[in-house]
């Protein structure tokens, strides 16, 4: 089965930031987490996929269709949820859904009714009067009900309470359970990705640093910690990211480099470790 999303050598230049030859793909039935620090380029990538902004180079295909040439077909296959509500504020959810139903090739009105009922979303209330969590659920309900094959979510759980976050994660897990649909999920909350992501794509300063299955993170990397005297000039060069404290150091290393470090504690890394240590690539001194 072909990839749901293919991005090849994508580039975008801003005045003080550039996306540099970004390439990755998403297989069917996969939740991909897109992680990176603030301003790394996560939202830029998503907005380029949605053709919200023009690109300077590269190619994007969704289900084999070019995202610009076949934009209408692509948008029928993509459900999008933004970190900020893009729905009309002065209209109700019912009216918005009724309008959207006429614009998509497929629309599941029954599913929409079930979703808003189970999420207690007030149909007759203006969208601007809803809480942030409800607005996110409103966007998600509309995104889910036109039967997309790819869900793209840009920081959807930011600002949500834990219950709402868990509910959304459950929906995403169910969405990919048929093995044919996929999710691209950009977030800072790496704990969410630990729960549902299959693949992680790490972007740092506009460049893809890593794109791998979440299981492979533990196979490839390790987090080590020890006293500062365990660090030498030689083995320090092998650290991917390093954090020094007065009491000792912590570092992310490749497992194959573990023999270069003596008398250190080793633990399996999680998504947060991968992100934070990649940002601390040049070492971080913490005066604590």
């Amino acid at each position: 089965m072909s990839n749901i999303l293919n991005i090849e050598n994508l580039s975008k230049n801003y005045k003080d930031f550039s996306l540099d030859s970004v390439s990755f793909s998403i297989e069917p039935g996969t939740v991909m987490g897109l992680i990176g620090q603030n301003g790394a380029g996560k939202t830029t990538i998503i907005r380029l996929i949605m053709n919200m902004t023009g690109r300077n180079g590269g190619k994007i295909t969704v289900c084999g269709l070019d995202n610009i040439e076949d934009e209408i077909a692509v948008k029928n296959k993509v459900g999008y949820v933004s970190d900020e509500c893009f729905l009309f504020y002065n209209t109700t959810l019912a009216k918005t859904a009724a309008a959207c139903a006429m614009m998509y090739e497929s629309w599941d009105g029954e599913k929409f009714s079930k979703l808003i009922k189970s999420w207690n979303l007030p149909e007759k209330k203006k969208i601007g009067a809803l809480s942030k969590g409800m607005q996110t659920k409103a966007m998600l309900a509309i995104a889910l009900c036109h039967k997309p094959e790819l869900l793209i979510l840009d920081e959807p759980t930011a600002g949500l309470d834990p219950v709402a976050r868990i509910e959304i994660l459950d929906i995403l897990r169910e969405f990919v359970s048929d093995g044919e649909r996929s999710v691209l999920f950009s977030t800072h909350i790496t704990g969410d990705l630990d729960k549902i992501a299959d693949v992680i794509t790490l972007i740092i300063d506009g460049k893809i640093r890593e794109s791998m299955s979440i299981d492979m993170i533990e196979d490839k990397y390790a987090v080590i910690s020890g006293s500062n005297d365990r660090l030498t000039r030689e083995n320090e060069k092998c650290t991917i990211g390093l954090r020094r404290l007065n009491t000792g150091f912590e570092a992310l290393v490749l497992r194959e480099d573990l023999p270069k470090f003596e008398s250190v504690s080793v633990k399996n890394p999680n998504v947060e470790n991968l992100l934070t240590f990649s940002i601390w690539q040049n070492g971080k001194e913490l005066a604590l």
Binding site: N51, M52, T53, I68, F86, F88, N90, A94, A101, M102
Partner: protein
């Protein structure tokens, strides 16, 4: 609503054809013409006593600019909200378009619409506006000729400056559409609406300063070159110029690849 119960999904082209077609354009032009004549009828008795008809003409500019702006807003809004006309909800389309205007681009970019189709729709609206401009110039020139036939003094330069103002606004609008630069779009798109108002202020200043024949004669000398933009030549100029700008816009859009919604 299932797919079987609904006809084919609405496209931008269908919506624009349904709600931005000649009927709406004609009705807005008619409304503009009525507004112009009403203002003229109201102002004539006041201005005729002082034989200062040229002061009247800035109101043509004002009306024309205002109506052109309205003409831009209404079809675009109706295009966006035509689905709400057809929905089971109550008809709040215009109010919705005003409140949703800030998020319109973002919302539409998430729906199955093509960015190039939206650009084409804007171009179509511009083309209609340019036709409205030509009709407005004809109305202005006709009003001038009628006034002259009744023996009133008219300042031909006001007609000329109105043509120039329209030409500048058309260039700005098309540049704002074609350019992918946010700065150009922001500046030109906003200023193009203000051009007619700026012309009105300029005319008011001219009319305030030209209080006697000698002064007016002096000003006529300075502005004599503008005569080419009045009367039939003025109408021909704006028609040809508008056609050229439209052709440039159509050519650009036809050959433009990778059109995006050009949002933030």
């Amino acid at each position: 609503m299932t797919k079987e119960e609904r006809k084919r999904a609405l496209t931008l082209e269908k919506i624009s054809r349904k709600y931005c077609r000649t009927g709406i354009m004609s009705s807005i032009v008619f409304f503009e013409a009525i507004a112009v004549f009403i203002i003229d009828a109201a102002m004539f008795p006041i201005m005729a006593a002082e034989d200062s008809l040229f002061i009247l003409l800035p109101f043509h500019i004002f009306t024309m600019g205002f109506m052109s702006s309205i003409f831009m807003i209404i079809p675009t809004s109706l295009m966006g909200d035509s689905t709400f006309f057809s929905s089971t909800a109550t008809n709040n389309a215009l109010r919705l378009s005003v409140s949703g205007s800030l998020t319109t681009g973002e919302f539409f970019s998430t729906l199955p619409f093509k960015a190039k189709d939206m650009m084409n729709l804007k171009l179509i609206n511009f083309e209609k506006q340019f036709i409205v401009n030509i009709i407005s110039v004809i109305i202005i020139e006709a009003a001038l000729m009628v006034a002259e036939s009744f023996g009133y003094t008219t300042l031909i330069e006001t007609g000329a400056l109105s043509v120039i103002a329209l030409l500048i606004s058309e260039i700005m609008l098309m540049t704002a559409l074609i350019s992918q630069s946010k700065y150009v779009q922001f500046i030109f798109g906003g200023m193009s609406v203000l051009i007619p108002f700026a012309a009105f202020l300029g005319f008011a200043a001219i009319s305030d300063g030209a209080e006697n024949s000698a002064e007016m004669a002096g000003r006529f000398d300075i502005l004599e070159a503008l005569g080419i933009f009045t009367g039939v030549p003025g109408i021909v100029i704006i028609t040809v110029f508008a056609a050229l700008i439209i052709f440039a816009g159509e050519y650009f859009l036809k050959n433009k690849k990778d059109v995006s919604w050009n949002l933030r």
